[in-house]
Every structure is written in C-alpha cells, then in structure tokens.
C-alpha cells in the first residue's frame, strides 16, 4: 500500500479506540480530591485539639504517610492506584507508597542492600532535586530579600 504519513495517521486515528484521557483525568480528579478532603478533615480535627498551624501540618503529613505505607503493605494502595493513577501518585500518600513499595518488594535481596537501598529509588531523586531547589531558593532569598 502506498500512502503518505499523513494519510496513515488518519487511518491510524480512525482505527484507535477513543482516548481514555477524560476518564483517566476524571478518576484522578475524584481520587486526589477525596484523599485531600479526608486530609482536610484530619487537619481540622488536629486544630480542634489545640495544635497550632505548623504542628498540625507536620502531624498531618506523618499521619498520611503512615496510612500510605500501611495501605501499601496491605496491598490495598496499588489496587486503588490501578484506576486512580495520578490521584494516588501526587498526594503525599503516593510519596509514602513510592518508598514503602520497593522497601517491601526488595526485602528478598536483604534488609540493607535490598530494602534500605531500593526504598529511595523514587524518593531519592525527589529529595535530591527538591532539596537542591530549596537551597538555591534560600540563597537567592538571602541575597535579594
């Protein structure tokens, strides 16, 4: 068959199923929204117990991380993530999941060289880049503000 790239692209688009983009994005929207609404409820509870803003914020992070790790180890988090996509990746529970999942999975390769090394597969780059950004920002802020 002798067709140009553009013709082929048209044929290809005709034959492909409709993009799941809208469905994916909606699921991510609802899941991420739900996780953070629950987080807001926990935060309000902590504030009602007399914690100040900063303590409540840090405590909330620790509670969410705990839940993220627990649900990962119970194999529940990956089941939600299967349909929720970014909705479970982007909240801090997803950060916890990115550490807990390889920590458990690579247990078979040893506690130190398996678990302790592999737990930073994703968290390592996040911390390296995040910290670098924060130090650069700090230097700029120190000089100019």
């Amino acid at each position: 068959m002798d067709i140009t790239n553009q013709e082929y692209k048209k044929l290809y688009q005709k034959a492909s199923p409709p993009s799941p983009l809208l469905k994916d994005a909606s699921l991510a929207f609802v899941t991420g929204g739900t996780i953070c609404t629950l987080a807001q409820a926990i935060r309000n509870f902590l504030l009602s117990q007399g914690l100040d803003e900063k303590t409540a914020g840090a405590s909330l992070s620790i509670i969410l991380v705990f839940l993220g790790v627990l649900l990962t180890d119970l194999a529940i988090y990956p089941k939600i993530a299967k349909f929720a996509g970014a909705g479970t990746i982007v909240p801090i529970t997803g950060f916890a999941n990115s550490i807990a999942a390889p920590a458990l999975e690579y247990k078979t390769e040893g506690l130190v060289l398996g678990t302790c090394v592999k737990m930073f597969t994703i968290a390592g780059p996040v911390l390296a880049c995040g910290l670098t950004a924060s130090v650069i920002y700090g230097l700029l802020y120190y000089i100019f503000a």
Binding site: D24, C36, I42
Partner: protein
C-alpha cells in the same frame, strides 16, 4: 465549603498530573520530582501561597505542597539563623514526613511478607 475547596484544588492538581502522564513522557517518578521542584519555584515567586489559602489541605497534601513547605521552611530558617537557614530550612520543615516515610516503610518491610507482583 472548606472541604469543597480542598476537593476541587486537589482534584485539579491530580487531573493535570494525569494528563501529563498520559500525554508526555513523564513517568510517575518524574512527576513527583517535577512537582516538588515546581512547588518550590511557585512558592518562591509568590504564586502558591494564594492556592494554599484557597485550597488548604487540597494544596498542601499534593507534592506541590511538599515544595511549598520546603520553601516556606527556608524563608523562616533564614529569618532565624541567617545564611545557614538556606541550607537547613528545606529539610527541617519536611523532616517529619520524610522520617516517617522511611521509618514506617522499614518497619513495614520487616513485618509484612513480600508478595509477587502478579
């Protein structure tokens, strides 16, 4: 109303991330890295503070908020300790979450059995 705002803010952030994952070469790992760095930058130029004011936990719980916490920590540490704060602020502000993630994951790996990924 506070809950609606948290839901909407987090929803929009997660939906945008999903579109990025579907439409670009950004893997979930890269999304996390991008969002933390972007959170620091947006906070630095003053664009994220209003989002936090509006969305509450909906803005601080997604990883953009992790970057926001780092940047705010840096500002505060510089106010207290001067130059040294540029280096200590980011990690100090996020220490609780990071330590919790590492320690709970390690304990979890000790307690739970490793599963097949099938």
């Amino acid at each position: 109303m506070e809950y609606v705002r948290a839901f909407l803010t987090a929803g929009v952030i997660c939906a945008i991330s999903q579109v990025l994952i579907d439409r670009t070469k950004l893997t979930p790992g890269r999304i996390l890295v991008t969002f933390v760095v972007l959170g620091v930058i947006l906070t630095g130029i003053g664009l994220y503070e209003p989002v936090v004011k509006f969305g509450g936990a909906g803005a601080t719980v997604p990883l953009l908020g992790f970057g926001y916490t780092m940047a705010e920590g840096v500002k505060e540490a510089i106010a207290q300790r001067g130059f040294l704060g540029a280096f200590t602020g980011g990690l100090t502000a996020t220490a609780g979450g990071i330590a919790a993630a590492v320690v709970f994951s390690l304990i979890g790996a000790l307690i739970f059995k490793s599963r097949d990924r099938s």
